[in-house]
C-alpha cells in the first residue's frame, strides 16, 4: 500500500518530545509521524532513545516537553491505560505477560467478556482468543498457563492482545529478536493484514534487512534526537547505517600503543544453551579487547559465564594456561579475574554502605586480622584507591549512594583493582557517566593495559569501542561473528557485523 503523506491526516504525531531521567537526557528531540496503513521503522544505535520514545507513546513515561497528537488531537497520557484507550497498543521487547494466568486472560486482562452480574464469561473469552489465533493462523490453547510458553509464543500472545484491542497504532519494539525465521515471516503476514485494515504499525528493529522488507518509511534517531524520516526506497542499508552512527570520534580516547604479551585468558567453545554458543577467543597481557554487539547479543552473559556467575553448558576457560573451574566466581577471583558489572547500583555496590567498606568488599580476606576486619585497614585501602582514582567525595564513610554515577563507577573499579587482578572484565564501564569522568575512566583503562593487565571490555558505545580497543570481537545472537583489528575497525564495519550485514 503506497503511503501518500499529503492527502491523509496522520494518526499519530510526536513532535520535539524531550525526556530526562535525573541527569541523563534520554530524548532531546523525539519526533515521529505515523499514517494509517503504513509500516514505519524506527532505527538507531543502542541508547539512541528508541525505547524511551516507545514508552512515551505507550503512556509509560510522560514527556518533559513536546506535543503528542492522536488523530490531530492533543493528548496527555496519564498512564498505559490512557494510551490503550486512545488506540495505541505496544508490544515490548521483553514480553510482559502474567505467568500464572491463562493465555486468554493475558489477552483480555481488565477487559474480560462478562455475562449477567458482571461475572467473567470464560467460555466467551476463550473462544474470542481462539478466534484471534485463527486469524493469526496459529494454534495456541487459550486455557493454558502463560508460564512455560516459548518466547515466540509469548510474542504471539502479545500480538493477539494488541489485535483484540483493535488498535489503530501498533508499536512493536524488537518483536523479532526472539523469533525464528518462520515466525518472523508469520509476523510480517500479520503486519500486512493490520495495515490493510488501516492500522499504522511502528516497527523497531536492529535487523535492517527486515526493515527494508516490511516497512514503507523509516525514521532514524541518534543520541536521543530525530535525524531524518524517509521513504524506504530512497535509502540504502549503507545510508541508514551512516545516519545511525554518523559522528566523529572525539578526543576522549587517550589510547596509547599497546604491546601485547603472552595469552592470559583463553576461552574455548564456551556455550550456554539458548543464550550463546561456541565462543572462542584469547586476550593477551596488556591488551584491551572489546566485546561489541547489539543489546541482547549475549555479551554480558559471556562475561558472566567466564567469571562463573552463570553456568556454561560447554567449553573451557584457561588463565595462564591453567584450566579455570567454571561456575565458581571464587575460583575466578583466585585466578586473578575481576568483573565490573553492567549495573553498578544493583550488582557492583552496596548502596547503603560507605566508600571505605565498598572498596574493601572484594579484599576482605586480605584485610582480615584474626578473623576480624579492622576499620583502619579498610580505611587505608580506601584512601589509597580514592587517591589513585581521583575520587571526588566528602568523607570516606559517606554512603556510595551520595556519589555521582562516575564516582560510583570509580569505587567499583577500586574495589576490584585492590585485588591486583591480572584480567579485568568491565561491562559498560561508562554508561550513565558524565563526559569528563568518562575520559578519566578511559585513561584508567589505558593505564591498566600499559601495566600489563588484560582488559576485556563490553560496551554498547561504538566510539568507545573503536577508540579504546586493540581488537574488537562482534557478537550477534549469541555467536561470535567477527573479529576486527582495532585500527581496521570503523563504526560501519562493526555495525554491519552486529546487524548481520557483513557481506556488504
Amino acid at each position: 500500500m503506497p503511503v501518500d503523506a499529503s492527502d491523509a491526516r496522520p494518526v499519530l504525531e510526536l513532535e520535539r518530545a524531550t525526556k530526562s531521567f535525573g541527569a541523563v537526557r534520554a530524548i532531546v528531540d523525539g519526533t515521529i509521524t505515523l499514517y494509517r496503513g503504513e509500516a514505519h521503522a524506527l532505527v538507531g544505535e543502542n541508547g539512541a532513545g528508541k525505547s524511551t520514545l516507545v514508552k512515551i507513546l505507550a503512556g509509560v513515561h510522560a514527556p518533559d516537553s513536546g506535543d503528542l497528537r492522536v488523530d490531530g488531537i492533543d493528548v496527555h497520557f496519564r498512564g498505559p491505560a490512557d494510551a490503550r484507550d486512545a488506540g495505541i497498543a505496544v508490544i515490548y521487547q521483553e514480553p510482559t505477560l502474567f505467568p500464572d494466568l491463562t493465555v486468554a486472560e493475558n489477552i483480555f486482562m481488565g477487559r474480560q467478556p462478562v455475562r449477567a452480574g458482571r461475572r467473567i464469561d470464560r467460555r466467551a473469552m476463550n473462544s474470542a482468543a481462539t478466534e484471534i489465533f485463527t486469524r493469526l493462523g496459529v494454534v495456541l490453547d487459550p486455557d493454558r498457563q502463560a508460564r512455560g510458553l516459548s518466547v515466540a509464543d509469548q510474542q504471539l500472545v502479545e500480538i493477539a492482545k494488541a489485535l483484540s484491542l483493535n488498535a489503530q497504532v501498533l508499536v512493536m519494539d524488537e518483536p523479532t529478536a526472539a523469533l525464528t525465521n518462520v515466525e518472523v515471516d508469520r509476523l510480517f503476514g500479520v503486519v500486512s493484514t493490520l495495515r490493510s485494515h488501516g492500522a499504522a504499525v511502528l516497527f523497531i528493529s536492529h535487523r535492517l534487512e527486515e526493515v527494508f522488507e516490511a516497512c514503507q518509511r523509516v525514521t532514524i534517531m541518534r543520541d536521543g534526537a530525530f535525524v531524518r524520516t524517509d521513504p524506504i526506497e530512497m535509502l540504502t542499508v549503507g545510508d541508514v547505517i551512516t545516519a545511525m552512527v554518523g559522528r566523529k570520534l572525539d578526543t576522549m580516547f587517550p589510547k596509547t600503543p599497546s604491546h601485547p604479551g603472552d595469552v592470559v585468558l583463553e576461552v574455548r567453545g564456551l556455550s550456554r544453551t539458548g543464550i550463546f554458543s561456541d565462543i572462542s577467543f584469547q586476550v593477551r597481557r596488556g591488551e584491551l579487547v572489546s566485546l561489541a554487539g547489539l543489546v541482547g547479543a549475549g555479551r554480558s552473559e559471556v562475561a558472566r559465564a567466564i567469571f562463573g556467575i552463570d553456568h556454561a553448558t560447554a567449553g573451557s576457560v584457561t588463565v595462564d594456561g591453567k584450566p579455570l573451574r567454571l561456575g565458581d566466581p571464587l575460583a575466578a577471583m583466585a585466578a586473578g579475574i575481576a568483573l565490573v558489572p553492567e549495573d553498578r547500583r544493583q550488582q557492583g555496590l552496596v548502596m547503603g554502605l560507605g566508600i571505605d567498606r565498598n572498596v574493601g568488599l572484594a579484599s576482605l580476606r586480605r584485610l582480615r586480622r584474626r578473623g576480624l576486619i579492622p576499620r583502619s585497614a579498610e580505611r587505608l585501602l580506601a584512601e589509597d584507591w580514592a587517591r589513585r582514582l581521583q575520587l571526588k567525595f566528602a568523607r570516606l564513610t559517606d554512603t556510595v549512594s551520595t556519589l555521582s554515577g562516575g564516582n560510583q563507577q570509580k569505587v567499583v573499579l577500586g574495589k576490584w583493582l585492590a585485588r591486583d587482578p591480572r584480567i579485568l572484565i568491565v561491562d559498560e564501564p561508562t554508561r550513565g557517566i558524565d563526559v569528563g569522568t568518562k575520559a578519566e575512566v578511559h585513561r584508567m583503562l589505558d593505564d591498566l593495559t600499559s601495566q600489563g593487565i588484560a582488559v576485556l571490555m563490553i560496551s554498547s558505545e561504538l566510539p568507545e569501542v573503536l577508540g579504546m580497543s586493540d581488537r574488537i570481537l562482534v557478537l550477534r545472537e549469541g555467536r561470535l561473528v567477527a573479529e576486527i583489528g582495532g585500527s581496521d575497525a570503523t563504526e560501519t564495519s562493526v555495525m554491519r557485523a552486529a546487524t548481520g550485514q557483513e557481506a556488504a
Binding site: F98, D100, V114, Q145
Partner: protein
Amino acid sequence: MTATLSPPRQGHTRFARAGFLMRVRELGIVLAIVLVFVAATSVNPAFARLDSVQQLLIGASIIALMGVGETMVILTRNYDLSIGSILGLSAYVIGMTFRAHPGTPIVLGFLIGIALGAAIGAINGWITTALRVPSLVVTLAMLYVIRGVDGVIVNGSIIGSDVVPRSFQAVGFATLFGIPWMAIIVVVVVAVAAYSLRSFRWARDLYAIGSSPEAADLAGIPAGRRVFTAFVVSGALAGLAGALFLALYAQIDVNGGTGYEFLVIAAVVVGGVAIFGGSGTVAGAALGAFLLNTINQALVATRISAFWNQAIAGALLLAAIAFDQWLKSRMTTKLQLEKGALREQSSD
C-alpha cells in the same frame, strides 16, 4: 501468508493447563487428610466418632476463615501479619459490648467485629499502597500496635462466659444436621470467595498484580485500589474470626489469637498459595488449614507428644515451598531449552 505457518507447538499443554496443577495440589492435600485420618483412627478408633470429626471441623474453621483473607493479600505479593491481633481485639471489643449492654443482639456482635477488622485492614492497606511501605513491615507494626492497645483496654481483665450471651456461644457448639454452625459459616465464606476469585475482573486483577507487578502496571490495572481492598477483606474476616473465637471459647484475654497469623500463613502456603503471589485458591488454603488441624488432633488422639505438631507443620511448609519452587524452575528451564533449540534450528 497465513498458509505458510509453522506447525503449532502443543507440547505439555495438558500439564500446563490452567487449574490442572492446582487440582493436583488440592487432591494431594485431600489425600493427605484421608491418610492422617485413617492412620489416627487405626490407632485410636475414637478419632472417627462424630464429635471428634466435629471438633476437627471446628478447630480448622477459624484458621480457614482468616486464610481466605490472607490468600487474597498474598495473591497480590503482600502479607498481612496483623490478623492474629485483629482477632484478639475484635473478640475483646465484642465481649466488652456484651458486658456493657447485655441485651445487644448477637448479629450486632458479629457486625462490630467485622467493622473493626475492616477499619484496621483499611489502615494497613492505606499505609501500604499510599505511602508505599512494604506490607510486611506495616502489618508487623500493626500486630504490635493492636496488641498494645488491646492490653490497655483489657487492663488485666478477662471477658468470661458469664458476659457472653448463651445464644452467641451457641454459634460455637450448635450443629445443623450434625455439622457445626461454625464450619457452615466458614464453608459459605470460602465458597463465596472461591467463586468470586474465579469470576470477577477485580479478583483476577489480584492474581495479575502478584504474578507480575510490572505487567500489571503496563496493563493499566489499578493495583493500589485492589491491594487496599484485599487488606480490608483480610481485616474484616479476621474481625469475624474474632467473633467466632469468642463464641467458641466464651472467654478472651489479652493473649487471644497470639501467633495465629503464622498458623494462617502456614495453612495458606501448605494449601498451595504461592508465597510470592499470583497463584493459589481459597479452597486450597482452607484444605491446608484442615490438614494442619487434622494432624494436630491426630497427634493428640494417638498420644504422640504435641511438640511433634509444630515440627510436622514446619516440615510441611518447607515441603510446600520447595515443591512450588521446583515446579517454577522446571518450567523456566524448559523454556530456555526450547528457546535455544529454536535458535539452533533458525540459524541453520
